[in-house]
Structure formats: structure tokens, C-alpha cells
Amino acid sequence: MLDQFDPRLDAEFPPVDRQALRARLAPLLPAGGYLDGAEALRAYESDGLPAYRSLPAAVVLPETLEQVRAILKACAELEVPVVTRGAGTGLSGGALPFPGGVLLVMSKFSRILEIDPVALTARVQPGVRNLAVSEAAAPHGLFYAPDPSSQLACSIGGNVAENAGGVHCLKYGLTVHNILSVQVVTLDGEVLTLGGPAADAAGLDLMALFTGSEGLLGVVTEVLLRLQPLPETTRLILAAFDDVGRAAQAVAAIMAAGVTPAGLEMMDGPALRAAEDFARAGYPKDAAAILLCEIDGQAEDVAEEIERVSALLRNSGATEVRIARDEDERRRFWAGRKGAFPAMGRLAPDYYCIDGTIPRKSLPFVLAEMGRLAEAHGLGVANVFHAGDGNLHPLILYDANLDGDLAKAEALGGAILELCVSVGGSITGEHGVGREKINQMCVQFSEAEVNAFHALKAAFDPQGLLNPGKAIPTLARCAEYGGMHVHNGALPFAHLERF
């Protein structure tokens, strides 16, 4: 199990004297800001990937920038690893505590500092919930575009760390496209502003490098977000297909026609039926797949595009094309999609969500291949896709109480990710590598590339204390993992000793 950190394959630090750690850190924090009791630690043992659990030596809850600086400086001195956590909704184990390390929880940084309706910006602390930004901007006719499915709960700091996407990023971009600057603290306590209030900042684009760095480079303490005006009109089409491949071809037809939908989502039969039972969205339960295609913009243009897309869908073999009659029905159609993950509880006791990306044209091939892999592993898979941008979320169904089922799910997940890489895609579109996909990094990147990532990390964190064992594998891990997975006939990391 990957929640077991291995000193040989991940990282090793001097043992922590818990009393010394408490004596050093507790005075830096407000009352109740230092937790090291067994009960309290248990509450933080996992993030949104509950299959992985591990206990830190202590949890710290700072409230000010100065406290964050002081904690990081002290941890650097003591050589104690630090894992930063926001709302803990991440799906890749990125906020899984490092055993014996400090878990730095940023939930007290929960204030929206300023909404500037003229500059179209929001200055927020990292613990602010994603949806709270759009709610605060709404009275000005503005919104914050990235909308991950967890937007009710997930926080902006985590969104920056993961470069979060969402169902509307096809048109509006990922987190990196929607932030102007981040204030970060590095392990030595230095406060840096990357990016700035102007269109770009002097020097290298460090804001872009930092976004999506999964807590390996620094701790986010403030973010300047870009807001945009709410579209005048938003309409949603639901199209049903009796064949998943035909639905995939319809996606290609829409994109090739020069339409940029605000969102273009796909669900296969098992996923849409579970979602329908869960959310009563009004989906046709006999369909093999459905597409949800949202168009927004100026009212007349939207009406024209809806006509065009409807025709394209019919020509692609849709058995039914339904346009949401009103805002209420539009919300219901989306509620099914947004509730697809929790709905899996109806199909199996547990599910494991995969996050690969592929070029759109490979979708029919990858779907067929995934079906074959699932069968070979003896597990069911329900599919939910951000089809417009080729981001797949196969949901592997398993039962954690059955011996060996989780291991089977992990193995199937790994095989699906390697399938994505083999068609020119990526092992993660938006959930991050975290702990979960650390081995698959060795499939996507060469030794020289992994080395470059370690060198970039060392430029920010020379001691390697920030989120060790996550996101970027050690060469030792790749040598070990590569021994089992020969890629394109070549053994990667061939010269390294295999453990």
C-alpha cells in the first residue's frame, strides 16, 4: 500500500522527539493551534483519498503569516518534514500526513480580503472555499471560473497546489489561467510574491511554475484571483446515445466544428444510471452514454449555437437531444453529473476515481481497452469524462472489506493510467499525482526529466522537507517500479540498483 512510506524509496529524516517538537512549535501558535493527541491526529489521517492513512507527529493550525513563517523556519532547523493541508478534499493523497512529520493546516486562513469589481479581482486567503469566491462576486455580476466538483468544500490554496480544473475549464481555463499572483512562504521563512497585479511580472514566470506544484515548493498564504463577468445566457443540451463510441465521435464533431462549449461532459451507462438513482436528474436510463453540452454567451448567439450543436449531435447518431427547458432543469441535469461520485455508493461499497487525460481522438480506443482491462482485473468500472478536454474519470468499483480488492483496484487504476500515457496522454488531468500516482510518474517521465523536477524542487526547498514522497518519485522508486513495468520494451533507469 502506498500509504506506507519507505525510507529507501521515498525519503528519510532524523527521528522526531515529540516533546522537543511540541516545546519548539506550540509556543509559536495560538491556544489550540498545536495538536498531538492521538484522537486529534486521527481526524487528519487522510484527505479525499480515504484508502490511504497515516499519522503525523503533530497538526498545527496557524492563523497569521508570521506564524506560518515561524513554523516553517523551526521545522527547517529541526529537519522535520511538513505537509500542507487545506480542506483535505484532494483525491490523490497529496495531503496525506508524512509519518512523524508536521501537518500544516491552513483552514484558519479563511477570509476574502477584497473583491475589486473594477479590476475584476478577488484577493483571498488560501483557506477560502472555492464556491465562496463566486458567491461573494455574484452581487457584482462576476464569478470565479474554476469549478472542481468539490467546489462546495475545497479551498483556494488547494486549488492552486493542484492547478484545479472543473467542468467549465474547457472554455474558462484551469486555476493557472485564473490567478494573477500568489504570496508564498518558502521553508526558510522567506515571503515571496510570484506574479503580480499587472498582466505579468518581471523575470521568469514563477507563478505558473508554482501553480500545481502540490505543496512541494512552498506554502500559499494569499492569492489574487481573476474574476469574470457572468455570461448573459447559459443553456444546456442533454444528448443520449445507444453506443459509447458514437458519443465519443459526437464530441469530436462538436470540437471540430469550431464550437467552444462552456462544458462538455460524458457519462456511460453505469455512471448515468447510478447518478439518476441518486439525484433524479431526469437522465434516460436506457442510454449507453449521455453527453451534457453547455453553451453560454450572448442570448442570440447561444440560440444559434444550440441549433448547430443539436444538429451535430443528431448527425452523430444521438437517439435523443433534449435542451434544458429552464434554469431548474439545467441545474437538475448538472446535479446528476456533479453527484456522480457519491452516487457510486449505489453500485459498490467503495470506488476508486482515476484521472487520466488523453487526446480526444483516442477516446473510442481507450474506452474499449479500459473495458478489457476491467474485465481482466475482475472489477466493474463506471465512466465519467470531461469529454471536451479528454480528461477521463473512470470509477473503479470495489469492496474494501474483501481481501485483496483494493490491491486489485490499485492495479487496474495503474494499468488505465499507463494506457493513457501510451496514447500520448497524462496520468493526471486535475487531481494531481500526490501519493497515489507516484509510481506512474516513472512511466510518464524519463530519468533526466525526474532529475530536472528534483532540481527545481531543490531551488525552493534544498532540504526536501516539503511534502516528501509525493508528486515527484525518487530515482530509487522508479528503478524499483520500472523493474516491474517495462515501457516500450526499454527498461527505464536501467543502470540503477533494484531494491
Partner: protein, 362 residues
């Protein structure tokens, strides 16, 4: 699966060649001898950086399309491919580069555009060049070929070193191939001019941008406001009617993009002063502006000595586009400069790739 075959390149591409091996060999040899290299494309952007003392590494011959499937909205080409060829190919397929890179001469290359990281007038409306870079293949300072990112829009595996290459002026790697996200051309484009003084025009644009209008350009030449609108037929028509002003020819925006508009052309130098779009402009208030007020243009041999400090105080920075005066880039605060040096060392430990092109220490 139906995929659309792209129209062929409109100009001859008989000289297309993959020179990865030769370039890697040249970098390895230079690294072994500790010899600095000056990376050269078409040489159209010589004014955008400090002089490099080093042997020339010519990447212009490493050119040609690697992959383009219009239905995927992704194009991959070698760094030496002329930007004009790429944009002509996209146009023939009803697509374009949303970041509208300025062209500084007929041969200007894709690699040069990405290395300089400059975006055109569309930037405040559709995003910057780095927002459309999906992946790169580069040579690091050891001559190793590294691939960062890929050809898919969503990809969060590994650090986004590909976005870091945009605007790094070749100091972190030799660009070999670049994969770009491309976008459909808008159905309709219109241009307007309005008689409004600079600051009033800037407030007017800020006000327009609070509404979901199909704006794609807002430039002030010192006397008049120039607006461009791109999008659906009805949306553009409604916006044009609502904004007023005089109709103009949208093709005039090429000169604004290429910085060859009469108010920007000629002289001893041109400086780009990036400022917060809606904030105070201080001493720069009288200058012509583009990008909805986010960029001021200064035509001079060099900014006044106090200008650097003034730009920083306003939350912005200055960068040379044409000319020779030093510094060419806004000086960095010491902790950030130190971080730049460490990042340089991470990817180019012997400091052989365009050393000093941005800052003497990087």
C-alpha cells in the same frame, strides 16, 4: 473515428528537418568545454534582451510541423518554424493562436515567440502565450532532451516547467518543439474608434469589461480609443451598437499587434511597461496604451532613471522590446533574483544557455 486532415502548409516546407541530434551534440560539446551558447532563431527579437557572449547555436534550421489535427485543437511544431507559416496554416483551417503573438519580422520563429513570451492585444480577453503552451521538448544545459507537459489541455503531472519556458528567453533550455492549444477563429470581427482621451478611455474600457461583451482589443494611440470585437454575429452586432463610435477596419489591428503602428514604430527604442489594468498610471499616464490599459508603450532610447522604481511602486514592471540600453528587464528584489539563479542552476548548471540574456546574474 473521423479526424480532419489539415490543409497543407501554404508555403514550401521542403527545408523542414529534425535537427535534435545535432543541437543536442552541440550543447553537450559546449557543456563539456564550459562554453556559453547564444541561441539564435531568425534574429527578429534581438532587441528583447541583453547581449549574450557565446558561440551561436542556430536553431532556425530545426523547423517543420510535427503534428496538427484541427479536431484536437492542438498543434506541435519545431522551434525554428516561422510563426507566419503556422498562422497561415491555422487560418486555412479556420483556427488561430488566441494569444496573437507580435511579429517582429517576416522570418520570426515559433521558438522566438515562446522564448520571449510576448502576447498581443487579445491578452486581457483570452489569455497569455503561456496559457496556450501545452508542452515543450527542450535541451537542458547538459544537452539532454527533456519533455515537459504534452499535447493535452489538462495535465498536472510534474511541475509545469513548460509554462516556465515561456518568457525565459532561452536561459533555461533550448526549445526544440512546442505544443500549443489553438482556438477556432471567431465568426465575426469588428473594429471601432472613439474620440476619448486616454484616462477616460481606460475607465470606459474597464466599465465595458465588467459586462460579458465580446471585446478582443482595446488600444489607445494617445488621441483615440481603438476597440475590436470578436465573436458570434449577434453578440458583436449588439456590442457595436451599444458602444457607439466610428466603424474601422479590423485589419488595422495587425499593426497594433506587431508594434508597427505609427505611434509605436521607429525611434531609438521601445519599452513595454506592464501596469495593473485599472490602477493609477502615475508618470506613465500620458503614454499610449494597449491591452485595455495593462501595457503602456514608451518610445525612447531608455526609460528615465526613476521610471523603474515608479513602475514597481505601481505594481508593474518594464521590459525592453527594441533598443540596446541596459537594463533590459525590470531589476528583481534580492530574494527573487537568488531564486532565479537557483532555478537557472537547476536546468543549466554550467550557465551555458543564453547566460546574461535577462539578467547578468542569471
Amino acid at each position: 473515428m473521423s479526424t480532419t486532415e489539415p490543409c497543407p502548409l501554404p508555403t514550401s516546407s521542403g527545408s523542414d528537418a529534425d535537427r535534435t541530434a545535432e543541437l543536442a551534440g552541440a550543447v553537450k560539446a559546449a557543456a563539456a568545454e564550459g562554453r556559453a551558447l547564444e541561441i539564435r532563431g531568425a534574429g527578429t527579437r534581438a532587441g528583447q534582451g541583453r547581449p549574450v557572449v557565446g558561440d551561436p547555436l542556430d536553431v532556425a534550421a530545426h523547423r517543420g510541423l510535427v503534428d496538427y489535427d484541427p479536431a484536437e485543437l492542438v498543434l506541435t511544431a519545431r522551434a525554428g518554424t516561422p510563426l507566419a507559416e503556422i498562422e497561415a496554416l491555422l487560418e486555412a483551417n479556420g483556427q488561430m493562436l488566441a494569444f496573437e503573438p507580435p511579429r517582429f519580422g517576416p522570418g520570426g520563429t515559433l521558438g522566438g515567440a515562446v522564448a520571449s513570451g510576448l502576447s498581443g492585444p487579445r491578452r486581457p480577453f483570452t489569455g497569455a502565450l503561456r496559457d496556450y503552451v501545452l508542452g515543450v521538448r527542450v535541451l537542458n544545459g547538459r544537452g539532454e532532451v527533456l519533455r515537459f507537459g504534452g499535447t493535452v489541455f489538462k495535465n498536472v503531472a510534474g511541475f509545469d516547467a513548460f509554462r516556465l519556458m515561456a518568457g525565459a528567453h532561452g536561459t533555461l533550455g533550448v526549445l526544440l518543439d512546442v505544443s500549443l492549444r489553438v482556438v477556432p477563429r471567431p465568426a465575426v470581427e469588428a473594429a471601432l474608434t472613439l474620440d476619448l482621451p486616454g484616462e477616460e478611455a481606460r475607465r470606459r474600457v474597464a466599465d465595458l469589461m465588467r459586462r460579458p461583451l465580446p471585446l478582443s482589443g482595446a488600444f489607445h494611440d494617445g488621441e483615440r480609443l481603438h476597440l475590436r470585437l470578436s465573436g458570434g454575429r449577434a453578440g458583436v452586432a449588439a456590442a457595436v451598437a451599444g458602444i457607439g463610435g466610428e466603424a474601422a477596419d479590423p485589419s488595422g489591428w495587425a499593426a497594433i499587434r506587431d508594434l508597427s503602428h505609427p505611434i509605436l514604430a521607429g525611434g531609438e527604442g521601445l519599452w513595454r511597461i506592464a501596469l495593473p489594468r485599472t490602477g493609477p498610471a502615475g508618470d506613465f499616464e500620458a503614454l499610449p496604451w494597449d491591452q485595455a490599459g495593462g501595457v503602456r508603450w514608451l518610445r525612447a532610447a531608455a526609460p528615465s532613471p526613476g521610471a523603474w522604481e515608479a513602475a514597481a511602486r505601481l505594481g508593474g514592471h518594464i521590459q525592453r522590446i527594441r533598443g540596446t540600453a541596459d537594463p533590459a528587464f525590470q531589476p528583481l528584489p534580492p530574494p527573487l533574483l537568488a531564486l532565479h539563479q537557483r532555478i537557472k542552476a537547476a536546468l543549466d548548471p554550467d550557465r551555458i544557455l543564453n547566460p546574461g540574456r535577462m539578467y547578468p546574474e542569471v
